[in-house]
């Protein structure tokens, strides 16, 4: 399996012969074997030159950039290497055909809701009193099917999210990490900062997986397409935010891996310090590598691979008589 490289140090990345070489400002140098790299995440102040971008393009390595506040800046998305005019056409046609678009958009909301419920039920069985929130979300789940427009569907999704986030204070056993509501840009408290960071990572993993398929990341179905930025990855991320991101958040907070000391208060709201960022990514990467037995494939697949499989299912939904069903956790 190819690896994900996370760069936190500042320095310069360059091409040495046929591999990558990272020269850190603190004097440590490192060769990065290029054949084994899936993608690179850049958190530090790293200098790139055109030769590197050219090299990364031939090696089909995607690079995701984050700024000092751990905000996602954007990605270097090398020219598409899996171009299929046929697939692009199918994707665009599905976007245009409102019934088909609604069908798949509902699936994303449904997948997100069902995975959120799995988590809530898990903690409910462990003695957290979440029954009323579970019932609330279950009733919203019934509403998804009868939404006849993307706008109203988004509205239902919003209600589900609000109930779901309301349960976080019961799940997390650290009083520093409670919140009244979801706040973004800037996040107003520790938990919001962590959720924002986690979500932006899930978006980028989804983008990386889309890059390995024939889908066009610019054409989302639930998140309106504006033909400028990526939106399909936001759609797919809905399914995996609870499965991969939120579960990691609960793990790092309940095990005390991350606490309030890992955050900074500054003019831009609350930010996660590099130390916290690293610790979170370590646990997240473990989760991504963890495998489960896939019921239909009869193979062990990692959580990371599940994102790719979701892309394949979407491709099949767009091109043939295949009923798309979002991935839902077993337990």
């Amino acid at each position: 399996m190819k690896e994900t490289i996370y760069i936190f140090n500042s320095g310069r990345i360059q091409r040495k012969d046929n591999t990558l070489f990272f020269e850190s400002e603190d004097g440590t140098n490192k060769f990065l074997p290029v054949e084994n790299i899936k993608e690179i995440f850049v958190f530090g102040e790293v200098d790139f030159n055109k030769r590197i971008l050219e090299f990364l393009t031939t090696k089909e390595i995607i690079v995701h950039f984050f700024n000092f506040y751990d905000y996602y800046i954007g990605s270097f998305y090398p020219r598409e290497h899996y171009n299929s005019g046929y697939m692009i056409l199918k994707q665009a046609l599905a976007y245009e055909a409102i019934n088909k678009r609604l069908k798949i958009a509902r699936c994303f909301v449904e997948g997100a809701a069902k995975n959120s419920l799995k988590i809530l039920k898990y903690y409910n069985r462990r003695g957290q009193n979440l029954s009323s929130i579970i019932e609330e979300i279950e009733s919203y789940l019934q509403e998804i099917e009868c939404q006849e427009s993307i706008e109203t569907l988004m509205h239902v999704e919003g209600k589900i999210k609000q109930s779901y986030y309301g349960a976080f204070k019961n799940i997390i056993n650290n009083s520093d990490f409670t919140f009244e509501k979801r706040t973004k840009k800037p996040p107003k408290d520790y938990l919001n900062a962590l959720i924002s960071f986690s979500n932006s990572l899930i978006y980028t993993y989804c983008l990386s997986e889309i890059y390995q398929t024939h889908l066009d990341p610019r054409m989302g179905f639930l998140h309106a397409t504006n033909f400028r930025r990526f939106s399909l990855n936001l759609d797919i991320a809905e399914i995996f935010k609870p499965v991969i991101g939120d579960r990691t958040i609960f793990a790092v907070l309940n095990k005390g891996i991350i606490d309030s000391k890992d955050f900074d208060n500054n003019l831009n709201g609350i930010i996660l310090k590099p130390s916290g960022c690293r610790k979170f990514l370590e646990v997240l990467q473990e989760r991504l590598n963890q495998t489960i037995k896939h019921s239909t494939l009869k193979r062990e697949v990692s959580y990371r691979r599940l994102i790719r499989l979701e892309c394949y299912k979407i491709e099949k939904f767009l091109m043939e008589y295949y009923e798309y069903k979002p991935f839902v956790m077993d337990w």
């Binding site: 290497h81 899996y82 299929s84 046929y86 697939m87 394949y312 099949k316 091109m319």
Partner: protein, 165 residues
């Protein structure tokens, strides 16, 4: 309509794979079997000219080899297991080259087993190939992809996850 050798070969194994390839739905390149295939052809016979690309046939010929003063078009295989499809592939190359006015003999090489086998193209082969081409065109022109049909080859195919998920 000219059928490229890669699609012709895929069709011999699986119609669905050929259909997907015809729409540039190529398989995930992270797949190790593909790497093994690439490495074998890169590492063996490094002295001879290899991988000759004939653009207007979109054909990639593994190598041209010289034996007893005669030229052969050669196909490199991983093992005898895929011998039959290797022979069919090679005959198709020879057929395409013949269309271009090049009469040439063929040879299958299995470097890992140190074997080679000479192949000739006769008129019944040509009839068979032309019948095949008509079949392929009919399948590829269909708007719908051929349905998933599980065969022995599936578990080793780069499209496995795509088909069975």
């Amino acid at each position: 309509m000219l059928i490229s050798p890669s699609i012709y070969n895929a069709f011999l194994i699986c119609q669905r794979q050929a259909w997907l390839m015809s729409r540039q739905m190529v398989a995930d390149q992270e797949f190790t079997y593909l790497d093994i295939g690439r490495l074998i052809s890169e590492e063996s016979f490094s002295r001879e000219r290899k991988e000759i690309y004939i653009p207007d046939l979109s054909a990639k010929i593994d190598m041209i080899t010289l034996k007893d003063g005669k030229y052969f078009v050669a196909e490199i295989k991983k093992s005898s297991a895929t011998m039959q499809s290797g022979i069919e592939q090679l005959k198709y190359y020879m057929y395409l080259l013949r269309l271009k006015g090049v009469e040439i003999k063929g040879m299958i090489k299995i470097p890992l087993e140190k074997k080679s086998l000479e192949i000739t193209l006769n008129s019944s082969d040509i009839d068979y190939i032309e019948k095949r081409i008509r079949e392929i065109i009919e399948v590829l022109n269909s708007e719908n992809s051929p349905l998933v049909k599980r065969i022995k080859y599936c578990s080793k195919c780069a499209h496995y996850e795509f088909c069975f998920v």
